[in-house]
Symmetry: C2
Subunit: 387 residues, 2 copies
């Protein structure tokens, strides 16, 4: 970590790892976790962290203090892995398809409270049928569309009640509703972000109240996205908040304004492998295989290319970006009329790159190198891969 | 495979795999390999396939008929893996950094002819010093810049001769030069593609001849990129051709014009998990975790979004694209004024997606599901991961 003062032992460890590698600053990671947990609990709600960002069992107990702590997953593979170490309160937050129900049932039969998500009568009917045939009960949440971002039924659509009634009557436990303010990723000022957060809360309450009028009680009213989760002001009626990338943070989140560069806990360490002085390029051994091809900041007011280079003060060096990425090559270049000081980047030196999108960057690595500067410890966290 | 007639056994196998997954059509894969090998050998040169695309040891013998067959890698991890199954003629085609030389030396000491790549006096001097200190010999190629795409010394730059002389004098074997016409990815008509291929050949010959005038003989004159490799007309003076994505092909290569859609051997199979009829969206369970975030066709005349949907005739369905991708959600939508026929995509049905960039898509999967329709066999290929 170019920019971090650390002990000789940790520094030696850091130098020993071949580049490129993903580096986690554990102290920042833990601070990020505490920040959102405290905010959510101070508003009287519960945090259900999304495991999809970190996906490492070694990190689970930091996200999830108790084995019964609620957790969200984006794949059954994550649920299966978390179950092996005792976590038992899981929402699989991607629309269910029937062939996957046998894996859900297996976990439920082991005592895991694994809930699925759906937004159509067809899925609800097939879930009922599966549970009837297999004599089991699987909890289900109905996805409610709060901002036209992706899936979900609209809160005033009669289908919402129809699905809930179908689930309620069937052997399946109707567990409640789930919203995700995906459009909050398009908010670049505090007012629009606040509106997005308020709207997510409002829509979730509306859906829950509509169902209540039909005697359908939501045990769970779940909302969340990292941008909105940091912006809620009143969570009455909301039982839980979900967020994923808040654990690592990234440049997309900096662009939205919910973190500082100094909060970003995940980065890629690379080595300078070439100069093209005529073109003003510094070549590094981290391409999209290490950084991911995610260009999440491309639509933001400040486009960060494929990532920003950290300077000696721990902040990104101004007017410098990873502007290009091939499979195993990255290209650092000056932008906005700046120039590259090649003496700062001799061939063989290491650079630290902050990612556009930590979820995507982490997905490229089967292991993370985790440095705890305060306690002078080093660990490897292994990513749970696949579906 | 929605579009492929196959036996009941294979179809049952296919249905059993949970989505999303990466599917390889082995017959197409083998045809792609044969096509470029035949072309290259008919021009009197040798193929040195790039392992970075496939990265599966189970596939190595298709790419590399003999244990001594030349192969290119983008990471030392690939070289180490190939060495375990006996391959012994390897070029590591990413600029070397000194801390990685101990791993190179280890393979060389096992009898592997592993050559490294460099383009600076500093790298050459450090390589010499390493070999001197460790009493070993490591072959090195000098990267020559043919089109300003990335790294390399210009063929007329005196540094070329300086580096070669430095290597020649030292304990290191000066092995030759290497060019990569990376700018060929920007060619969208046959004339510019032909020019790019001709230029790559011309620059490689110029560099080799310049060195020859200084009594520096290139054992290896290596050129290649998938677009140019399919376009060479005369390879005299060129000892070998490198290419990677030609094995799978993809939409970027279709856009450049070196393959047909029907040649694309790698795809993602996903399940329809939702409809948003108001917005005209079909939601699938393959997001950028399965498809990759690569938007390689974005700069092409025909932008394919995050991939195209295969129809019953095996060709992409016109005016339909994966236009959006979140971590585990993809969004299929009509483009160019088309409309989605939702009855074609009922919830629960499977879809097959052709990727923008097969290297990037394959990198998201730790295993590939490989179907050989002709011989009615099914295999799993395991990806060599990491660096």
């Amino acid at each position: 970590m170019r920019s971090i003062n650390t002990s000789t032992t940790l520094l030696e460890q850091y130098e020993k790892i071949d580049t490129p590698f993903m580096c986690v600053d554990k102290n920042k990671f833990i601070n990020n976790l505490a920040r959102l947990r405290e905010k959510t609990e101070s508003l009287g709600s519960t945090l259900r962290p999304h495991f999809k960002t970190v996906r490492a069992l070694e990190a689970a107990h930091y996200l999830l203090p108790e084995k019964s702590s609620p957790v969200t997953v984006s794949t059954l593979k994550e649920a299966e892995a978390l179950a092996t170490i005792g976590y038992n309160n899981i929402v699989y937050a991607v629309g269910i398809s029937t062939p996957k129900l046998h894996r859900v049932q297996k976990l439920v039969s082991q005592g895991i409270d694994l809930m699925v998500l759906l937004d159509s009568v067809k899925q609800a009917a097939e879930l009922n049928e599966f549970c009837h045939e297999n004599q089991c009960t699987i909890g289900a949440l109905i996805e409610v569309d709060c901002d036209g971002h992706r899936g979900g039924v609209l809160p005033k659509d009669p289908t919402l009640v129809e699905i809930a009634q179908l689930l309620y009557r069937g052997p399946v436990q109707f567990a409640g509703i789930l919203c995700h303010a995906g459009e909050s990723y398009e908010c670049f000022d505090s007012l629009s972000l606040q509106n997005s957060a308020d709207n997510e809360v409002k829509v979730a309450r509306l859906a829950a109240n509509t169902l209540k009028k039909h005697d359908l009680r939501c045990k769970i009213v779940s909302i969340g996205s990292t941008p909105t989760a940091h912006s809620y002001q009143d969570l009455s009626g909301i039982t839980e908040v979900r967020a994923g990338v808040y654990s690592f943070f990234d440049l997309v989140m900096t662009g939205i304004g919910v973190c500082q560069h100094s909060d970003i806990a995940a980065s890629v360490v690379a080595t300078v492998i070439g100069h093209n002085k005529e073109k003003g390029w510094v070549l590094i051994d981290a391409g999209w295989m290490a950084l991911s091809a995610d260009r999440g900041t491309a639509g933001q007011p400040k486009d960060c290319g494929y990532g920003l280079v950290v300077g000696d003060n721990g902040e990104p060096i101004e007017n410098l970006q990873v502007t290009g990425a091939n499979q195993e090559h990255g290209l650092i270049e000056a932008v906005n009329g700046g120039t590259v000081d090649f003496s700062e980047f001799p061939i063989g030196c290491r650079v630290q790159i902050l990612p556009n999108h930590a979820c995507a960057m982490a997905s490229m690595h089967k292991e993370y190198h985790v440095f705890d500067i305060q306690n002078e410890t080093y660990d490897i966290w292994n990513r749970v891969q696949g579906w």
